[in-house]
């Protein structure tokens, strides 16, 4: 049976359609979840997509993490369900304390939109299992507030516990993130957030290549669901 992957739409979510399309391309079924939902229903995994939830006129993700659906997402995560936050979704997960750290304005104080090299540094999460250890992939970033920060002790713990999943390739850190961190996971390894956009790199006809496919195909394989052939 095809994997059912919930994709949450907050008011102001923008890349929700793209996340759903990426799930579909690898053979999964995308299930639309609405910010007012109080249950996530029968899904195998959840994606919090990119965008500007509630306009993000306040701190990014600060309003969205209070939405009713987030209580259901937190329960799903606590039960070990795989949850992926992409860009704004990563910001929401940090605000919700489902992931450590925070995302601040880019070091150069400008929105940055370009492909960057990413090293996959941990492959035993559901969202990185589709890659080889240390694999260098290229994914686009597009954000104004993607500079990952945490206090030194937290950063040291993340490193020691292997909670850094994706790192910007040397010299390619686009936003001043601490220790070139592009994506992290929680202690249990089932919740992953990253600033780059894998969902925009799944279709060979489009501009960004297909290096993002592994994230979705790997998820489906990791939870024992069929994956569509390339």
């Amino acid at each position: 049976m095809a994997a059912r992957v919930g994709v949450v739409t907050f008011p102001g979510s923008l890349d929700d359609r793209d996340a759903a399309a990426a799930v579909h391309i690898v053979g999964g079924e995308a299930v639309a979840l609405w910010h007012e939902d109080t249950s996530v229903g029968d899904v195998d995994a959840i994606i919090l997509p990119g965008g500007f939830s509630y306009g993000d006129y306040l701190r990014c993700g600060a309003v969205a993490h209070l939405a009713p659906v987030m209580r259901a997402v937190a329960r799903f995560a606590a039960d070990g369900g795989p949850v992926l936050g992409i860009c704004n979704g990563f910001q929401v997960l940090c605000e919700a304390r489902l992931l450590p750290g925070a995302l601040l304005r880019n070091e150069r104080l400008r929105f940055v939109s370009r492909p960057v090299g990413i090293d996959v540094v941990r492959i035993d999460t559901p969202f990185s299992a589709g890659y080889a250890d240390g694999q260098r992939i290229t994914l686009p970033v597009k954000h104004g507030e993607g500079r990952y920060v945490a206090d030194v002790r937290t950063l040291d713990e993340l490193e020691a516990e292997g909670q850094v999943v994706f790192r910007y390739a040397p010299g390619e850190n686009p936003n001043g993130s601490a220790r070139d961190i592009a994506g992290v996971t929680n202690a249990a390894g089932n919740v992953v957030g990253l600033m780059p956009h894998p969902e925009h790199a799944v279709d060979a006809v489009l501009s960004e290549g297909t290096d993002g496919r592994g994230m979705f195909a790997g998820l489906l394989a990791a939870i024992g669901r069929p994956v569509a052939p390339v």
């Binding site: 008011p11 102001g12 890349d15 150069r108 939109s113 370009r114 597009k142």
Partner: protein, 784 residues
């Protein structure tokens, strides 16, 4: 309210005017004495304050097109591909399979000069609502930006051009504004232009283009056809911001009081627009809307009068029901407010609850403010009393039409007498760069005019909505796939004030051809045109003459290339303290690709591929060129005439070769000539090339300095630089021969330098750094 509103002649005390008070107020609002006389004649009485306010905005240049209207009538606007032509909010073009595409470009020049961030942001927001109004989901935006020279770069003689802080401020603000809005509203930016030229120092140009897709049956029209339908105001609360912003700001030249006009600039809320877009699309798909109009310039006055006039109906509107930010607003302020992110939808009474529930789901405020009625009068009331009762048509469609005096500027003769082609590049290298031609070329490529606009593109989301095939910077046109299909549309915008100031008619023909060629180079079939005519002061006969010449050139070229004009915008009064911008028609051309995967970028792909110059022969073409500007030469020279029939044949060759999958890269040769095209191709592909110079004017290639200047920098029209695998070169040549299109082999891809016939070798690393980083450097930005 009872009775026929048209006979109202007594208004509340704060609305009532007499002849004596009406005249100075009318003048203050920008209406001429003749216009006031006409209003009095139309109404059969002195207008109320609210009516005067409505007429002043609806009859402004921006809304009425009074100076250009009679001339625009001559444009070609029809064709089998055109579903909706000019007159609606945006033109609609059939792209096959029951799908249509709507697109339009509009200016936001004056607001952006006053407040660059919000001016540019609301320019994007406004054009998106034009697209939404047609029933379409917006799928991409582009922006055509023009600024003065920011300085901070190395001139050809090695000196640093002094920094102009005001230009830096404008560039920073406008780019932030475009990004702020587009990124947050979730529509990808797929390109445009960023041009730096001293001619725009006093009047930056900010033109925003949007494109949307719809199924034929979802087409919406701005018509109030059914009496009893309710008028529902959707979106943000109405406030005092932007009263007379677009309409009044855009209808006068700037003097020294820019600061005082800041309250006229609207403030954008892209989040509100995102919700409004999703709400409206849901209403369309559920068949809940019978007519809709966006509210931009002239706000409620414009939306109500246009909806009514288009269907020869009337409307009753109760201004007390408009949701306001400040309920002390006067009636005329409510009517003329240009608060952003608002739409006026017409709905059946029995479907109102469903409409309101949909709006609530998207958190979009909604108020029922009136209803469609029989008759032709717009009856507006406040606190139970009628405050305005004009015939809708007189506002929307019977504004003044002026045949303004025009005169060919004498200076054109002097300009035509200049020999712009008298350039010896070796001599210039000796004069400016110690005889080192490569240094001279590097400096030229590092000028803001020729440098990559990567610094701009990287501040815009070009991926959201998941359809971007060719992103900004990789081709002369952006390409997006239409969701759920293999089809894609290609869009290019081109303007060139340097060409048009020499010869507005021929310059415009050349601009149309350049945009057409950009689209054709991607492999797309050009279909239709939108345009934004950025011009000077129409009350000056010479500037009025330029406007009419530009429109003539536009019509001529669009007819010859079979790309009908489906809409556009005229921006006049782009002049500061008597100095006008060069005439700058910005032309947007839309094309279609049957298979998105066929789209061709301009970057070279593989070592060993052959480089070919296709199309017209290279001719003397330094009139109005970037090289002329870099050498500090004033404007002058005669533009080589564009062969529009050849452009069509070239487009056919490019389209056929792309759909065969045989074209590895293609890029138009325009601003900056063959050198700029080569550098874009090589830097984009990360590969060098060995190139032989082409003949110029039939003279066999030599490496003398005069030939070199033309071969590298001529901007003569009709040419494209392409690459093909060696195995496919013969087929390409045969195809060109059959079509009567020139084909000249220039060399091949490979190596670690752009090598030019042994006269100069530009190491790829150096030229890449210069090309990609120069603009950020000039603007004082780090590139790390």
């Amino acid at each position: 309210m009872t009775g026929d509103a048209a006979v109202v002649d007594v208004f509340p005390p704060d609305e009532q005017l007499d002849e004596e008070r009406a005249r100075p107020l009318a003048r203050e609002l920008g209406l001429t004495d003749e216009e006031l006389d006409r209003i009095v004649e139309t109404l059969g009485r002195v207008p109320s304050v609210s009516e005067l306010g409505m007429y002043s905005v609806m009859w402004s240049e921006h809304c009425s097109y009074k100076s250009s209207r009679m001339h625009l009538r001559g444009l070609p606007t029809t064709g089998p591909q055109v579903l909706v032509g000019p007159g609606e909010n945006a033109g609609v073009v059939d792209v096959g399979d029951g799908l249509a595409v709507t697109f339009k470009i509009e200016s936001h020049n004056h607001p952006s000069a006053v407040e660059p961030v919000q001016g540019a942001a609301t320019g994007v927001g406004g054009i998106l609502r034009d697209i939404l109004t047609m029933g379409a989901r917006p799928i991409a935006v582009m922006d055509a930006l023009r600024f003065g020279d920011p300085g901070g770069w190395t001139a050809l003689d090695g000196t640093t051009v002094p920094v102009d802080p005001r230009q830096r401020h404008l560039v920073d603000g406008v780019v932030r504004g475009v990004g702020l809005y587009g990124n947050c509203v979730g529509v990808p930016n797929i390109g445009g232009e960023t041009i730096f030229d001293p001619g725009y120092a006093g009047n930056p140009l900010v033109n925003a283009l949007a494109v949307g897709v719809l199924r034929h049956e979802d087409l919406q029209l701005a018509r109030a056809e059914r009496a009893g339908d309710l008028a529902v105001l959707l979106g943000s609360a109405t406030g005092r911001d932007g009263i007379g912003g677009a309409s009044v700001l855009a209808s006068a030249t700037f003097e020294d009081d820019g600061e005082d006009r800041r309250p006229n600039v609207q403030i954008g809320d892209p989040f509100a627009e995102k919700l409004l877009i999703e709400c409206c699309l849901e209403l369309y798909h559920r068949g809940l809307v019978s007519g809709i109009q966006d509210m931009g310039a002239a706000g409620i006055a414009c939306a109500t009068s246009e909806l009514s006039s288009a269907a020869s109906m009337g409307m009753r509107v109760d201004l007390d029901r408009v949701h306001l930010r400040d309920d002390t607003m006067a009636s005329w302020e409510i009517l003329c407010s240009e608060s952003q992110e608002r739409m006026l939808a017409l709905v059946r009474p029995e479907q109102l609850d469903e409409v309101l529930a949909t709006a609530a789901r998207w958190q979009v405020p909604a108020s029922v403010i009136g209803e469609v009625v029989e008759g032709t009068t717009l009856t507006l009331s406040r606190r139970g009393e009628v405050v305005a009762a004009p015939p809708a048509r007189s506002l929307a469609d019977e504004g003044p039409v002026l045949d303004r005096p025009r005169a060919r500027p004498d200076r054109l003769d002097a300009l035509a007498a200049v020999d712009a082609d008298d350039v010896d590049l070796h001599a210039e290298a000796a004069r400016l760069a110690g005889g080192d031609l490569a240094t001279l070329l590097h400096r030229a490529l590092g000028s803001p005019m020729l440098a990559s606009k990567r610094w701009v593109h990287e501040q815009y989301d070009h991926l959201v909505l998941g359809g971007t095939v060719l992103q900004p910077g990789v081709a002369g046109a952006g390409v997006v796939r239409l969701e759920g299909t293999d089809r894609a549309v290609a869009l290019s915008t081109v303007g060139n004030g340097r060409w048009c100031e020499l010869d507005p008619r021929e310059g415009t023909r050349r601009v149309v051809a350049a945009a057409y060629r950009d689209v054709a180079c991607t492999g797309a079939r050009p279909l239709a045109t939108t345009n934004c005519l950025n011009m000077g002061d129409p009350t000056q006969p010479e500037q009025m003459w330029e406007l009419v010449e530009v429109i003539g050139g536009l019509g001529d070229a669009c007819a010859a290339l079979d790309v009908p004009v489906t809409g556009g915008n005229v921006s006049l009064y782009n002049a500061t303290r008597g100095a006008a911008i060069p005439p700058t028609p910005v032309v947007g051309i839309l094309g279609v690709l049957d298979r998105a995967g066929d789209a061709v970028a301009r970057r070279v792909r593989d070592d060993g591929d052959e480089l070919w110059l296709l199309g017209a022969p290279t001719t003397r073409g330094l009139a109005g060129s970037v090289l002329g500007a870099l050498l500090g030469r004033g404007p002058g020279g005669v533009l080589a005439r564009v062969d529009l029939d050849l452009e069509r044949r070239l487009a056919a060759v490019l389209g056929a070769s792309a759909s065969d999958g045989k074209l590895r890269s293609a890029g138009s040769i325009g601003r900056g000539g063959l050198l700029a095209a080569l550098v874009r191709a090589c830097v984009g592909g990360g590969r060098g090339a060995q190139v032989t110079l082409p003949d110029v004017d039939g003279r066999a290639a030599t490496t003398d300095g005069v030939h070199l200047a033309q071969a590298l920098f001529s901007e003569s029209p009709g040419r494209a630089l392409v690459s093909v695998a060696p195995a496919h070169a013969a087929q390409l040549v045969a195809r060109c021969e059959e079509a009567g299109v020139g084909a000249v082999r220039l060399g091949e891809v490979g190596g670690d330098a752009v090598e030019l016939d042994g006269v100069a070798a530009l190491p790829l690393d150096d030229v890449t750094r210069v090309h990609l980083d120069a603009l950020a450097g000039a603007l004082g930005e780090s590139t790390a």
